[in-house]
Symmetry: C2
Subunit: 205 residues, 2 copies
């Protein structure tokens, strides 16, 4: 089984490679240094995903990029739905950085009648009732939940019934999805707790 | 060394405990089930931080909460500065969930003259020039960077010079801080790549 952190590191290596000329070769040592990980960690990570490069000669940058993009699924475009057009949802919908990685927010849903019909980024906020039909029509496989925690579970069930196969959940509550659906939770308050843990340990607060 | 994931799981156990009556005791088995982790993982996690509960009798909920809050540093309040009052920064500054965990956004900075002086959440956006003085005056130990990636490194240096000891960086770029400063990076596009990896692997996209 591939550890979750190896997939995250693959994303990091891919970001570093984005700044390096396709025509070059690069050693595992150099790529590791640029990404802030060890050479042995990088080699171990890549072996999870197959055979890369020629031992002793390093990696062809163009080939390495191509393969990592294919493994991460970012060599294609994904249509994304976002549910909950509030403060956080609006910021995410307007962000141009997602599209650069192949994630296009194609539909935004909300249950607040005053918001429905407004534009956000380059989409129009739709009524929740349109979600099943719209998700199927636009072949939406990925959804982001930026609605209040009380609504999160119901929304996850609605999204999986509408054919969504992967959910990024920002609501700070545990939600359950069918085993075939991939769920990633992001709890921004927990990221701050990671900081306060270190400060408390170092006696700084 | 305590693995990073053990600290994140401590935050998860603390969230689950928040919904349980102080007067109760709880077994490691029950707390593990509620948090979605195994009983053995929970016991192993807690041993990193000391001796908890009475073997065979479970944990006193009140006592366990108190100790986990103290370890995570969320038994007190932290004054937080936020730099970059754009889409993401505004959403974070308005979010009431951080204060519930003890993180108060006390100061927001931006270099856009049109934004300075406006209110955001319950603070007034200040000019970057005020950052050193204001961070010291308000005893700010934690800062959040929601500025563009080109500015992130310079801002990290400015913040550490102003006495900030921990930084949560949302800009998708690698930044360097002195060894005594704790840095946590959140790359939201990478969270989506985590989803596309699973979909690509399952042949769903
Ligand atoms: N804003 C942040 O910085 C932040 C940080 C961490 C976590 N979160 C979490 O993200 C979520 C959104 O936070 P926010 O600050 O944007 O809140 P918000 O109140 O600004 O926005 C929530 C939006 O969801 C909509 N909504 C409510 N119920 C719905 C339903 N059943 N179906 C569809 N839409 C519904 C509301 O109309 C509103 O537009 C919350 O769960 C919050 O805990 C936000
Ligand atoms: N919006 C999102 O959903 C999102 C998602 C992922 C990552 N990010 C990252 O978060 C950061 C902020 O994104 P955003 O969408 O809010 O951008 P934005 O352009 O809306 O906001 C950036 C803010 O930073 C200010 N700023 C620029 N240079 C500065 C400097 N040197 N000092 C102080 N303030 C400065 C700008 O005036 C603006 O108010 C970016 O690095 C972005 O890549 C954003």
């Amino acid at each position: 089984k591939i550890p979750g952190m190896a997939i995250t590191r693959l994303s990091i290596y891919s970001r570093i490679l984005a700044g390096i000329d396709d025509g070059r070769t690069i050693s595992s040592k150099e790529l590791a240094e640029l990404s802030g990980h060890s050479d042995s960690q990088l080699r171990r990570d890549l072996t999870y995903f197959g055979q890369f490069g020629i031992p002793g000669k390093g990696y062809q940058v163009k080939e390495l990029k191509r393969r990592i993009h294919s493994i991460l699924g970012i060599d294609r475009t994904w249509n994304v739905a976002l549910v909950g057009a509030g403060n956080l949802g609006s910021a995410l919908a307007r962000y141009k950085g997602f599209e650069l990685q192949g994630f296009k927010i194609k539909a935004v849903f909300d249950n607040n009648k005053r918001k429905i019909g407004r534009t956000l980024g380059n989409v129009t906020i739709q009524d929740m009732e349109e979600l099943p039909r719209s998700a199927k029509k636009r072949n939406i496989k990925i959804a982001v939940i930026t609605a209040p925690m009380e609504a999160a579970q119901e929304l996850a069930s609605l999204l999986t019934e509408a054919g969504v196969k992967a959910i990024l959940n920002f609501a700070p509550v545990r939600i359950f999805v069918p085993s075939k659906v991939k769920l990633v939770n992001v709890d921004l308050a927990m990221e701050l707790e990671n900081l306060s843990y270190f400060l408390a340990k170092a006696g700084k607060g």
